[in-house]
């Protein structure tokens, strides 16, 4: 099942788990901010359900971290400062102008583009994790994969329909996708420990191999909507190395407000 547990191996497992957990946690947080604001009620139900599933995926990863002695899983999700987070830049970006409780001026095109790119990238990673050298990750990957199947299908449908509906929707999707791609530089990065995560310990395939998987997943959709597959930029800041924007600070503050109000409570 798993390789001999040396401190280096354990460190690599933990690094990877934080990236996966923090990605899904932040993605869920941004999804939860759409509650009640989606274009129609069926979408509100769907988006909430996807968000709930994804929070469950984050929980699975944080629980593995807890089992590896990193501390209580709830605290790991709620209390770690931004410098310790391993999520990609794409998921920490706000949904748009304004604040959820006041005047959210969110862009549905951006939500669809971001969620499509995120879900397909997640699919590529999950496929690679199904053959991870670390047994517990391998098991979780199979479970997540089945739920992700519906998420990916959902966002692919929206992505395709908005790109092919009207001239206006197509042009808005094009600009949304451009915005999303600008932030996707670190999506397939594993940060400084990349060689040990893939080559040394075979926890996950190389960054290049996963990008290839991703390309295969998205190619038919991009062909259908007749746009070229975008080139991912070199990351200017890399979330995998704990580099983040202030958007992440405020997201953590909002998300953990209730939890921090009583740290001794049993949730």
């Amino acid at each position: 099942m798993s390789k001999e547990v040396t401190p280096e191996f354990k460190k690599s497992v933990i690094t990877l788990l934080y990236q996966l957990a923090d990605d899904d946690y932040l993605f869920s947080y941004r999804g939860s901010e759409w509650l009640g604001l989606a274009p129609h009620i069926e979408e509100d139900v769907a988006f909430s359900s996807i968000t709930q599933d994804t929070m469950g995926h984050a929980k699975l990863y944080y629980t593995l971290l807890e089992e590896l002695g990193e501390g209580n899983s709830d605290s790991l999700a709620q209390l770690r400062p931004k410098e310790e987070r391993g999520n990609s830049l794409l998921v920490e970006r706000p949904n748009g102008e304004g604040y959820y409780k006041e005047a959210p001026n969110y862009d549905w095109g951006y939500a669809v583009a971001r969620n499509y790119i995120y879900s397909t990238a997640k699919k590529a990673k999950i496929e690679a994790l199904k053959v991870s050298s670390y047994g517990p990750i391998q098991e979780i990957a199979t479970k997540i994969s089945a739920e992700l199947y519906y998420h990916q299908m959902h966002w692919t449908t929206w992505f395709t329909q908005l790109f092919t509906a009207t001239e206006e929707s197509r042009s808005r999707m094009s600009s949304a996708l451009e915005e999303v791609i600008k932030d996707a530089g670190d999506l397939f990065s594993f940060g400084e420990l990349a060689p040990s995560l893939s080559t040394t310990f075979e926890l996950i395939e190389s960054e290049e191999a996963i990008k290839e998987r991703w390309f295969t997943i998205i190619k038919p959709t991009f062909e259908t909507v007749k746009i070229t597959v975008p080139e991912l930029p070199t990351p200017t800041i890399n979330g995998r190395n704990g580099q983040h924007t202030d958007d992440l600070t405020s997201a953590i503050e909002t998300m953990s407000e209730v939890y921090r109000s009583d740290l001794a409570a049993s949730w």
């Binding site: 069926e42 139900v45 929070m55 469950g56 995926h57 479970k143």
Partner: protein, 165 residues
């Protein structure tokens, strides 16, 4: 029953009384959630497969199992563990479970995906195949929303979950 007599079979009998918190016509056994039961001198360990990762009912189910099993004679300790391997798949729902779901107005999970990734279920009320999927996602993570064009009833269906997805 002798004082030391506590068998796995007794545990299974009790587990069959633990219902899905939202669907009282199916038990957690009907749903195929129980993977293993071990009894050792009054210490009971029950391994449970969570259905959907984000299902908020899991904690309630865990508490309900503990409560039910603890009431059995000679039980000293109950340990309920959620395990991730094997994963729960919708084909684990038993024939009794499929009937129970229908009774509740929920179509049992479809058996297989079509080539294009879609699936089909029949109306749990009138049996018609003339149904449309209104939303793959439903009020809970495990259900979808459909509409029967024959008897004009909206209904829910349990989603298909398999290891090949």
């Amino acid at each position: 029953m002798a004082t030391t007599d506590l068998h796995e079979a007794h545990i299974y009998e009790v587990l069959d009384t633990v219902k899905d918190p939202e669907i009282d016509t199916v038990s957690i056994i009907d749903l195929g959630m129980i993977e293993r039961v071990q009894v050792n001198d009054g210490h009971v360990r029950i391994e449970v497969l969570p259905t959907f990762s984000g299902c908020p009912a899991l904690t309630i189910i865990q508490q309900n199992i503990e409560k039910a099993v603890a009431q059995l004679k000679n039980v000293l300790e109950v340990d309920v563990a959620f395990i991730n391997s094997p994963i729960w798949t919708s084909d684990r729902v038993t024939a009794k479970g499929r009937d129970g779901l229908k009774q509740f107005g929920i179509a049992p999970p479809p058996q297989f995906l079509k080539k294009d990734g879609s699936w089909h279920v029949d109306c749990p009320y009138c049996g018609s195949t003339y149904v449309t999927i209104e939303n793959i996602f439903g009020p809970t993570a495990c259900r979808s929303i459909l509409y029967c064009k024959s008897c004009k009833n909206p209904f829910e269906a349990m989603k298909l979950i398999s290891t090949s997805m």
